[in-house]
């Protein structure tokens, strides 16, 4: 691409202002995901009686779409980004509400809306859009006197939280809570409150242990592997061990054919078996790089809204990667969460692209005072 710095078209301006390093890192992650989709999904597809390349076609067909979505969103001006986030937030809030009446039940939870061609998990889109909306509310509170941003943010958070718990989608509720709380923390929440709310959060986890049997079962199995079926996690650990330093080679993995969810939640184990420790470490470095480089740039940011929004989106992205990798490595109880841009999963991929698109848009270098949102 040859674009001069004086090019003032939308694309030209975008090229010189967007964070190309983050873009490159995300591209690498997605590329690795595409390769892994070819390695991991045929085994799963065969096992459940589909054409071996069923998931490959779907995922690779979706990937350009997702990247296009990310790039398109990153072209938007901060103001338009904010409005888009608000629209998506309200839209997905309504759709999440609809899942209770029109949702498709998969594996015991009503999280999906059937759109004919594919089914959509609207709560995935709730996450990034809510991060941006909350950031704006926190920022407004601190910019405009008398604007009750914090209160509105708290109310919206409670609504979203209630909807997610009712689905029930405890993992999603946890991520949304963590992101929202981190944003509130960044926005200057007093330390006393930080500690108190942190305590409430831990208590909440304790409550979910007693209220949701599947949560309790997973935590029990984590704490005491002998208490139940740990087949999945054992198989995942065997996959890493089997892969060793350099891996067995692409397509040479064997445990993927017996590992449940090898294409989605446990794709990291397939990466470990086929591409080895070095590739996995590379993936960890890429995720770390995306989060920390984003943070580093935000340290130069003087606009609180931009800072909170981008930080929220990056935290969400990083947290999801952390949770996925940690549960695959048996550092935490298994939690069904996709590895961003790597796992199979349409809604998740599109929602993450949307989120990172907004992060890119809001973190573009603004010369001078920048646009006031």
């Amino acid at each position: 691409m040859t674009l001069t710095r004086r090019d003032s078209s939308i694309v030209g301006r975008w090229w010189w202002t967007v964070d190309r390093w983050t873009l490159a890192a995300l591209g690498c992650i997605a590329g690795f995901g595409a390769i892994l989709a070819m390695a991991a999904t045929p085994a799963v597809a065969t096992r459940i009686g589909l054409d071996p390349f069923y998931f490959v076609r779907r995922q690779i067909g979706l990937l350009p779409l997702a990247l296009a979505l990310m790039l398109t969103v990153s072209l938007l001006s901060p103001r338009n980004t904010r409005l888009l986030a608000l629209a998506v937030f309200l839209g997905s809030l309504i759709l999440v509400g609809l899942t209770f009446s029109n949702g498709t039940e998969i594996k015991g939870a009503r999280r999906w809306i059937n759109l004919g061609v594919f089914s959509l998990q609207p709560s995935e889109f709730l996450k990034p859009s809510f991060a941006v909306v909350a950031a704006w509310l926190f920022a407004q509170q601190r910019k405009k006197e008398g604007f009750p941003g914090d209160i509105i943010a708290i109310c919206l958070f409670l609504t979203v939280f209630a909807l997610l718990v009712l689905q029930p989608d405890i993992g999603m509720a946890f991520v949304v809570t963590a992101v929202w709380f981190a944003q509130y923390f960044l926005a200057g929440l007093r330390m006393l409150w930080v500690l108190m709310l942190g305590g409430v959060g831990i208590a909440g986890l304790g409550v979910s242990y007693f209220v949701f049997p599947h949560v309790a079962s997973r935590i029990n199995r984590f704490l005491d592997p002998a208490s139940g079926d740990t087949y999945q996690i054992n198989t995942a650990l065997d996959a890493f061990l089997n892969g060793g330093l350099f891996g067995r080679g692409p397509g040479e993995g064997t445990l993927k054919s017996v590992l449940p969810d090898a294409h989605s939640d446990f794709v990291f184990a397939v990466a470990g078996e086929e591409f080895g420790l070095l590739a996995c470490l590379g993936l960890v470095v890429l995720f770390t790089f995306v989060v920390l480089r984003g943070f580093a740039r935000l340290l130069q940011e003087s606009n609180l809204f931009f800072l909170l929004a981008v930080a929220g989106l990056l935290i969400q992205y990083g947290l999801q990667a952390l949770i996925n990798m940690s549960s695959t490595l048996h550092l935490i109880p298994t939690k069904g969460m996709t590895l961003p841009f790597v796992s199979y999963g349409g809604s998740s991929l599109l929602a993450l692209s949307f989120g990172m698109g907004m992060a890119l848009a809001l973190s573009r270098t603004r010369y001078g005072a920048g646009e006031e949102p």
Partner: protein, 566 residues
């Protein structure tokens, strides 16, 4: 410090203150963002360290992979059937069946030509038509041999697929045909144990153990086949029953068939003469006539009846086959098989008591063995005195040989009835039993049956040293509504050793013809009794029954019977 700065700011004018607060907020945000970043760095580092830990630091440990349960063991759809000693009677083999998706076959004619060469016995035209049809699934051939499967694979024709299947195999072939039965192409039982025990065979992988002893079965079949051939009978039946438990040790119906390919069975080969066929059994019924008469006290062994004249009742005449034309004692009636005597004995017992007794020994209801092929007896209704008289010598009532063997065992084994079974009873398990006659009557019946073999119509069944006893039976078959002179059911039910019976053996020939050796006779004594004799001689050593001296004083005393009262 932040709060103090806040106090200072609050003192400033509103506009300025707001900007100042925003600046402060940004500053706090930057600090806290740095903290968050460090936390993220730590978390990602932990993940990286853990990765190194599980991937390379675990080296030296055996991977858990080795401890994973292997693919579940051979999981067959249908349990094996074994005999009482564990000998395999029926098992399942994994095979492959060939089917095609015609929509994926590009050149049906060519494919058919190749297939016919690979699998002999296929019709090229027929296969081409199937492959060219507009369906998406057609069977080509079920249960290929591994060689055929390899040959088909080598052809490399797209659109052909293998369906793993199971095929039922009967290693003993026709020897146990009427017991195990057979299965259809979809592995469902269609006859015998395969049909009656369908649920059990499908629900458990544990082999199903039968009461049959394959050694007994083989000997019975061999001797029965010899008799069938010698006397040119159209069929035969043979049973060996364990008296103490009611277990069937051998069950043979001839002609038989190969259960591996039941479709090739000819004529009535699939008809089970032992349990499904019901026949007028003739004089064998005198066992039951004598038993009920002795048990109810209407006669004693010292009493007798006048048998000089045939009985004329309405339009029937009851006469004797071996007429003695004199007064006969009860032992003589039994020994010479006098119909006149038996009829008179039954009249004294009475219709009511006769029917009740026959019911008690299971002759009025289907046999209890666990085969689907069980025939219901044909009993007279109404049961008049004439019926009582004919039933006394086994006419006018049709029962299966299985029922007769079971009832005989009850009469001679201390008078206790045990339902017969074809499934092995667990060792030491209590056997259901019900008293049908007194022990004294049973003991007298043993003496009577011993007498028949020692001195009466059953002499050919005698085997020195084994104390064989029994009763002959010959009945004319009803052909076109009339008793036919030359179509008989000739049978013999025996037991040994008669002082303490272990086995009941029954042989029956369907329409035997007399031979030179039998002087043209084809009665039970001439054709069925010798077979029982040969069976005793061959089975006793296997069962571990030793020879005894029949003339030893205590045995003579046990078997003594005063036949003649003159």
């Amino acid at each position: 410090m932040a709060t103090r700065l806040g106090d200072v700011l609050r003192a400033l004018p509103a506009k300025l203150r707001l900007e100042g607060e925003a600046k402060l907020a940004i500053e706090i945000a930057h600090h806290r963002l740095a903290v968050t970043g460090v936390l993220f760095l730590l978390a990602f580092s932990v993940v990286a360290l853990r990765l190194v830990d599980v991937t390379v630091l675990k080296e030296g440990h055996e991977p858990r992979l080795a401890h994973l349960p292997r693919a579940a063991g051979l999981d067959i759809e249908r349990a094996d059937i074994v005999d009482r000693n564990g000998e395999l009677l029926a098992t399942s083999l994994s095979t492959a069946s060939l089917y095609a998706n015609p929509k994926m076959v590009s050149d049906p004619a060519d494919a058919a030509a190749k297939l016919v060469r690979a699998i002999p016995g296929l019709e090229a035209k027929e296969i081409a038509a199937r492959l060219g049809s507009d369906r998406s699934f057609v069977w080509i051939k079920r249960n290929l041999t591994p060689r055929q499967q390899y040959a088909v694979n080598r052809l490399g024709i797209p659109g052909l697929f293998f369906q793993p299947e199971e095929r039922r195999v009967y290693p003993h072939g026709s020897l146990v045909a009427h017991i195990v039965g057979y299965t259809g192409i979809d592995n469902h039982g269609l006859a015998g144990i395969e049909q009656s025990m369908e649920e059990r065979l499908r629900s458990s992988n544990e082999p199903l153990q039968l009461s049959i002893d394959i050694r007994f079965q083989h000997i019975v079949r061999e001797e029965l086949a010899r008799a069938v051939e010698e006397f040119q009978a159209i069929g035969g039946a043979g049973i060996v029953l364990d008296v103490a438990t009611g277990e069937v040790l051998a069950l043979v119906s001839l002609p038989d068939f190969d259960p591996n390919s039941p479709g090739t069975a000819e004529g009535d080969a699939r008809f089970n003469r032992v349990s499904l066929g019901t026949y007028e059994m003739g004089s064998i019924f005198k066992i039951f006539t004598a038993a009920v008469a002795l048990d109810s006290g209407t006669v004693t062994l010292r009493d007798g009846y006048d048998a000089t004249q045939p009985i004329k009742i309405s339009r029937f005449t009851i006469s004797d086959f071996h007429p003695q034309r004199r007064f006969l004692t009860v032992p003589e009636i039994f020994m010479h098989s006098s119909n006149i005597g038996a009829a008179k004995m039954a009249v004294d017992v009475g219709t009511q008591r006769q029917r009740e007794f026959l019911g008690r020994v299971g002759l009025l209801r289907p046999a209890s063995i666990e085969l689907p092929e069980v025939g219901a007896p044909l009993v007279p209704s109404p049961w008049r005195e004439i019926n009582t008289m004919t039933i006394a010598f086994g006419h006018g009532i049709s029962v299966s040989p299985m029922q007769v063997a079971t009832a005989t065992a009850a009469v001679i084994d201390g008078g206790v009835m045990r339902p017969s079974t074809i499934l092995k009873r667990a060792d030491g398990a209590p056997v259901p039993s019900q008293r049908v006659v007194s022990a004294r009557t049973s003991e007298q019946m043993r003496r009577l049956m011993r007498l028949v073999v020692e001195r009466g119509t059953g002499k050919p069944a005698s085997v020195p040293g084994y104390l064989v006893g029994g009763k002959t039976g010959t009945a004319e078959k009803i052909v076109n509504g009339r008793y036919a002179k030359n179509a008989r059911i000739s049978s013999f039910v025996g037991a040994f050793p008669m002082n303490a019976p272990r086995f009941v053996i029954l042989t029956m020939l369907d329409e035997p013809k007399g031979s030179k050796a039998t002087f043209g006779f084809a009665t039970g004594g001439w054709v069925a009794a010798p077979a029982v004799g040969r069976l005793v001689a061959r089975l006793a050593p296997i069962a571990g029954i030793g020879l005894v001296d029949e003339n030893a004083p205590e045995l003579r005393e046990q078997m003594f019977i005063n036949a003649a009262v003159r």
